[in-house]
């Protein structure tokens, strides 16, 4: 309405000629008052030149013009929009991001394609949503929480893992990995490789057949099955904290062959040097890789006095007593907090040496000896060690052929120890009497939260009672965590009572 008034005053001399159109326009306005203001505000005021005839004015006022097929309400996009589109289109050749305003940056990022080469995007884009898109496009399932909540980290870690997993020594170009190194070195903290392929076999069978005829197959085959040497890669990753390796082939199914799972001495030496040089490493896992005593000793020797290592996992290997002894030595020469030797071949002497190291250790929190064969001798040694140890919280002794003597000793430990929170004695032959003794020990304990006695020949009654005690302990622990200050004193007060009983 105001606009029309303004125009009418502007065109005062030719008022008589326009008067009819004015009337028309007012009529039009009355018919569509709702959208009128918005339209007026959107369309930029046309230049008031002299050749401004009445026809254009009529057009301007109309909403839809039937005669003009190209007329539409869509507005010409802003120049910034166009620029952003252009930037997005040519991002690969000319990446402009940091110079833009934050809202424009956001727009550009939301329109970038996830297929852009990493060399362009790796160090330029920090935006999580972009990397989230990249990740979700490549992998349907993504656990961001496992990668510190960072999609970028997740992307690079999984990308690198994929590359290593499908790296075939001798055929794949190592440059593929090393080229990626400068791009991902500051983002990768965890390397979880569950498959390391051996060199390609196809040319091997005919040769090996010939060689087997000549009778010297062992020597030539050994170097042929060396896996990818991680040394250069790991040395380049300056923030690497976790290394999880399996020297083996996944999903081989019925194509199983023994030499697919060979962890050679050269691999072992190279890996030892690698982890020794990597000072930021906190967690090292090497599972299902046929690590025997000698290899374990090589690896553990390189880990002695490591500045950062906190967790060592050598489960599902072939480590026997000598390896266990080496691990025991490592316990006293590092700040190891978690040691996992599950499903190995540790027997009583190995367990005894571990117990010896454990007796005065102040770092180790968790010890897992599942599916070994330490038997009563080792179990008793460990129980003795636990009487002096003040640090261990989790102990897993499942499937170790333990029986009643260990249980009696452990029940004593339970009444004394105040740090243990979880014990697993499943799949042993504790027996009925052992169960009763454990129950007695359990009744004096106020800290244990988990005690697994499944399939260990314990009477159901005692198992149930133990479960009750555990429930009470758990409740107490919960109250303690809820208000630590209030319940501190009762515990301290109760502390001296326990040994008295």
């Amino acid at each position: 309405m105001q606009e029309t008034l303004a125009t009418s005053t502007l065109l005062a001399p030719s008022r008589s000629s326009i008067s009819t159109q004015e009337r028309f326009s007012t009529a039009g306005q009355t018919s569509s008052t709702g959208p009128q203001p918005s339209r007026l505000s959107i369309i930029p005021p046309p230049s008031k030149s002299k050749g401004w005839n009445s026809g254009t004015k009529v057009r301007r006022m109309r909403r839809i013009i039937a005669e003009d097929p190209e007329w539409s309400l869509a507005i010409v996009p802003l120049l910034t929009e166009l620029c952003i589109q252009h930037i997005v289109k040519n991002f690969q050749n000319n990446p402009i991001l940091k110079q833009l305003l934050p809202e424009h940056q956001q727009k550009v990022l939301s329109h970038l394609s996830p297929e852009l080469p990493l060399a362009v995007t790796a160090n330029l884009i920090d935006d999580e949503s972009y990397w989230r898109r990249c990740c979700l496009q490549r992998w349907p399932v993504c656990h961001v929480a496992r990668h510190g909540g960072s999609w970028k980290r997740l992307f690079f870690e999984r990308h690198l893992e994929n590359l290593i997993k499908h790296f075939i020594p001798g055929t794949t170009d190592p440059a593929v990995l090393l080229d990626l190194l400068p791009l991902c070195r500051s983002y990768v903290r965890r390397l979880c490789v569950h498959q390391l392929l051996p060199p390609v076999q196809p040319p091997a069978p005919p040769r090996s057949g010939e060689l087997s005829d000549s009778g010297s197959e062992g020597e030539t085959e050994e170097p042929a099955t060396d896996h990818y040497q991680l040394r250069d890669l790991v040395a380049g990753l300056s923030h690497l904290e976790e290394l999880d390796l399996v020297y083996g082939v996944k999903d081989c199914g019925m194509n199983f062959e023994g030499n697919l799972f060979l962890f050679t001495y050269r691999d072992c030496h190279s890996l030892a040097a690698t982890i020794k040089a990597c000072h930021t490493l906190k967690i090292f896992r090497l599972t299902r890789s046929k690590v025997d005593d000698d290899k374990a000793r090589i690896l553990i020797r390189s880990l002695l006095d490591h500045p950062a290592l906190e967790e060592l996992d050598l489960s599902h290997n072939l480590i026997a007593d000598r390896g266990a002894r080496a691990a025991a030595k490592l316990l006293s020469h590092s700040r190891l907090r978690v040691l996992n030797l599950a499903n190995n071949q540790v027997r009583a002497p190995g367990a005894q040496s571990l117990a010896h190291a454990l007796a005065h250790n102040t770092n180790l929190i968790s010890l897992n000896l599942r599916l070994n064969c330490i038997e009563d001798e080792g179990g008793q040694a460990l129980a003795h060690a636990l009487q002096t140890n003040k640090c261990l919280t989790t102990l897993h002794l499942g499937g170790n052929e333990l029986s009643e003597p260990t249980a009696t000793l452990l029940s004593q430990v339970l009444s004394v120890n105040t740090t243990l929170t979880s014990i697993n004695l499943s799949c042993n032959h504790i027996g009925l009497d052992g169960g009763k003794q454990l129950l007695e020990g359990m009744l004096d304990n106020k800290t244990l939260l988990e005690f697994d006695l499944r399939l260990s020949d314990v009477a159901q009654e005692s198992e149930y009672l133990i479960g009750q005690a555990l429930c009470a302990n758990r409740e107490a622990a919960r109250q303690r965590t809820l208000n630590p200050g209030h319940f501190m004193s009762p515990i301290v007060a109760k502390g001296p009572e326990n040994p008295a009983r």
Partner: protein
């Protein structure tokens, strides 16, 4: 989940509790029943708290709030326990599979071990048996070698072959068995794989089931908890509403009460206001009347004032006129004065400029005068210098002239004396005695005292002392070097000896070595000379001052340290006249002091000598400087000169002169006679000579008659001349003769 029964009870309870904070029984209440109830409630609360503590439940300080939340809390606890149990069971269920596989694995291992052991045993047995068989066969080879008969050999070979075949068959059987086992193992592996996949499937199934179950139960529990909270909230709402209504009612009642009070008060105030108004009105009337009266009086006064004002106005106008006139006059005067001031300013400026000029002039003059003055001072100084110089020269000249004149006079006198003596002795024949006058012995200007040097005095002193042993009285009579000193020479000598002994350091070592062979006195003399030169003692006065100083030092000996300064002051030039006066005084009382003097040197400790010397040298420096001009002003006394010279003229007395006059006349007469005689003598001599000459000429004439006629003529002429001469001089001899 929540049974409706206890809910109602709870509600009731809650209601009761809600009422407590507002109208609840209080311990401090007046009603004993209420007090009892309050105590009961308190005890119940304590019991409740204890019970909870026993249960291990955390009990917060705010019991009431906890009680309020009890239902929801209970629900929460229940749900939590249930869920925890569920989770535990679920994990157990899931992990059961793992445990089962574990135990299976253990069983498998045990079995495997057993089988392995059996297999090994079997293999070992096999090896043993086959070895036995092999041994048997090899043994038979030995037997076979001994066989000669081919038939036997053939049989044996056959049997051997059979044995070998058996052995191989055994081995093959074993191999096939092992292969069979391997196949079984392969099958086993396949089975295991299948089993594993089954297990994994089961695990996944269970996990999924678990997840579903857990989710369901969680949702359910959440619903329950929500419901509980809802109910609680509603309860709270209703209770709060009730509370609110109650409060509102109370508020209304109070409001009404306030209103009534207000109305009552308003009435009261109205009454008061009316009363006040009445009172005020009366007062106002009174004041009004009074004020009106006042106004009338004041109007009258105003009229009077107006009249006076008129009068005053006229007066003032007149005055104004006068003042205007005066002002005009004053302006005229002012302009005049201003002009005058201007003029005066001009003059003042002129004067100032003049004054400045004069100041400048005078300054210049002053400068020129000061420069003149300086120049004059310079000139004066030069003049003084010249004067001094001239004075010296004059002195010298005077002395020289004096000496010359004196010499001349003395010459004359001596000649006179000679003449007199000659006259006396030769002419008169009297004995002559030379007259003895004081001035004859005098040489040089009178009254110039001979200034002796210190060393000379010392020498004298020493000499004196030497002689003293023999003629003590004589020295006393001589009054010691004609200088009136109060110090005896002996004392002086001792002091000097002491000085000489103590201040050897002032003497050069070279000199000391030279002095060794000399006599004692000479040695002292030379030493003292050196010491004096070192101390700067030149004149006699200095020496005596030194000696005096020593003596005074002794006098003030006891308070030595203090008196040194006074001694010093005593030496100052300003006090010199005083010193002289003292000297005179001491001269007067010289005798008693003299007596005390002798022991003095003994009393002066040798150690003090250096102190005294130091003080003396310090004191001596100053007077020395100021004394020089004083000396110059010394004016010669020329009163005695005329007398002297007068005396010189009267060396020859008048009597002798008269004698000489008489003698002179007599002698002159005598001289006359003598001169006549001399003349006569000379005449006689010349006549004799002429005579001889004439004789000679006659002779010649006689001789020359022969030869020359002329010659007699020449002789004759000569003779004539001679005769003439003789005749001319004839009177002289007679005179001479007469004189004689």
């Amino acid at each position: 989940m929540n049974p409706p029964g206890p809910l109602g009870v709870l509600e009731e309870k809650e209601e009761e509790h809600l009422s407590t904070p507002i109208l609840g029984p209080s311990i401090h209440s007046d009603n004993p029943q209420e007090r009892i109830q309050a105590r009961r409630l308190r005890i119940a609360a304590r019991l409740e708290a204890r019970r909870r503590e026993a249960l291990g439940e955390y009990l917060d300080g705010k019991k009431e709030s906890e009680e309020d939340q009890r239902k929801s809390y209970k629900q929460k606890e229940e749900s939590r326990l249930k869920l925890a149990k569920l989770l535990l069971c679920g994990t157990e269920l899931v992990t059961n599979i793992q445990v089962a596989t574990d135990i299976r694995e253990i069983h498998r291992r045990v079995e495997e071990e057993e089988i392995k052991r059996q297999r090994l045993e079997k293999l070992e047995n096999e090896v043993k048996t086959s070895q036995d068989k092999f041994d048997e066969i090899t043994a038979k080879w030995e037997v076979g070698k001994q066989k000669r008969i081919p038939q036997d050999l053939w049989d044996m070979l056959n049997t051997q072959q059979v044995h070998c075949a058996g052995l191989i068959e055994d081995k093959n059987k074993l191999i096939s068995e092992l292969q069979q086992e391997l196949k079984i193992k392969d099958d086993q592996y396949v089975k295991d794989l299948k089993k594993q996949s089954d297990d994994i499937c089961l695990l996944l199934e269970r996990m999924e089931e678990q997840v579903k179950h857990v989710m369901k139960t969680f949702r359910q529990e959440l619903n329950y908890i929500e419901k509980a909270f809802e109910i609680e909230r509603q309860e709270l709402l209703t209770s709060n509403k009730k509370k609110w209504e109650r409060a509102l009612q109370a508020h209304n009642a109070k409001e009404l009460e306030y209103l009534m009070n207000r109305i009552k008060k308003a009435e009261d105030y109205e009454k008061q206001l009316n009363r006040q108004r009445m009172w005020d009105w009366e007062e106002y009337n009174m004041i009004k009347i009074k004020l009106e009266q006042d106004v009338q009086v004041l109007e009258q006064q105003l009229q009077q004032m107006k009249a006076t004002y008129q009068l005053n106005q006229e007066k003032l106008e007149y005055n104004f006129q006068v003042l205007k006139k005066r002002d005009e006059e004053s302006t005229v005067i002012k302009s005049q004065q201003k002009r005058k001031i201007n003029r005066l300013h001009d003059t003042l400026n002129n004067l100032r400029s003049k004054y400045a000029k004069q100041i400048k002039q005078f300054q210049e003059e002053n400068q020129s005068l000061t420069s003149d003055y300086k120049r004059l001072v310079m000139q004066f100084k030069e003049l003084q210098k010249a004067m001094r110089h001239f004075a010296l020269i004059d002195d010298k000249q005077f002395r020289e002239i004096w000496l010359m004149n004196e010499e001349e006079a003395k010459d004359l006198i001596s000649r006179a004396f000679d003449v007199d003596r000659i006259i006396h002795t030769h002419h008169l024949g009297l004995p002559w005695t030379a007259p003895d006058f004081w001035f004859l012995r005098n040489v040089g200007p009178i009254s110039q005292q001979p200034q002796k040097s210190a060393t000379q005095i010392v020498e004298e002193v020493l000499m004196q002392a030497e002689e003293e042993g023999t003629e003590e009285a004589a020295s006393e009579a001589e009054s010691y070097l004609d200088l009136p000193r109060q110090i005896s020479p002996k004392t002086t000598r001792k002091i000097l000896m002491l000085l000489c002994d103590e201040s050897g350091f002032l003497v050069e070592s070279k000199l000391l070595s030279l002095l060794l062979p000399l006599e004692k006195n000479e040695c002292y003399l030379l030493r003292l000379d050196a010491i004096f030169s070192a101390l700067g003692i030149e004149s006699e006065d200095d020496l005596y001052k030194l000696v005096n100083f020593f003596l005074k030092y002794r006098v003030y000996h006891s308070p030595s340290s203090q008196e040194q300064t006074s001694l010093l002051s005593a030496l100052e030039p300003g006090e010199q006249p005083d010193l002289e006066g003292q000297k005179e005084e001491s001269l007067v009382e010289g005798e008693p002091e003299e007596k005390e003097a002798p022991p003095s040197p003994r009393l002066i400790h040798p150690n003090d000598v250096l102190k005294i010397l130091e003080a003396f040298v310090m004191g001596l420096k100053k007077p020395r400087d100021s004394r020089a001009p004083v000396k110059l002003k010394y004016v010669r006394d020329n009163s005695k000169d005329s007398a002297y010279w007068e005396a010189l003229t009267t060396v020859i007395p008048d009597t002798t002169q008269n004698l000489w006059d008489a003698l002179y006349t007599a002698l002159e007469k005598y001289h006359l006679i003598l001169t006549q005689r001399a003349k006569l003598l000379i005449e006689n001599n010349s006549l004799e000579q002429q005579n001889t000459e004439l004789q000679m000429l006659l002779q010649k004439y006689l001789d020359s008659k022969v030869g020359d006629r002329e010659a007699p003529r020449r002789v004759g002429r000569r003779l004539g001349e001679a005769v003439g001469l003789l005749l001319g001089n004839e009177s002289l001899p007679s005179l001479e003769a007469r004189e004689r």
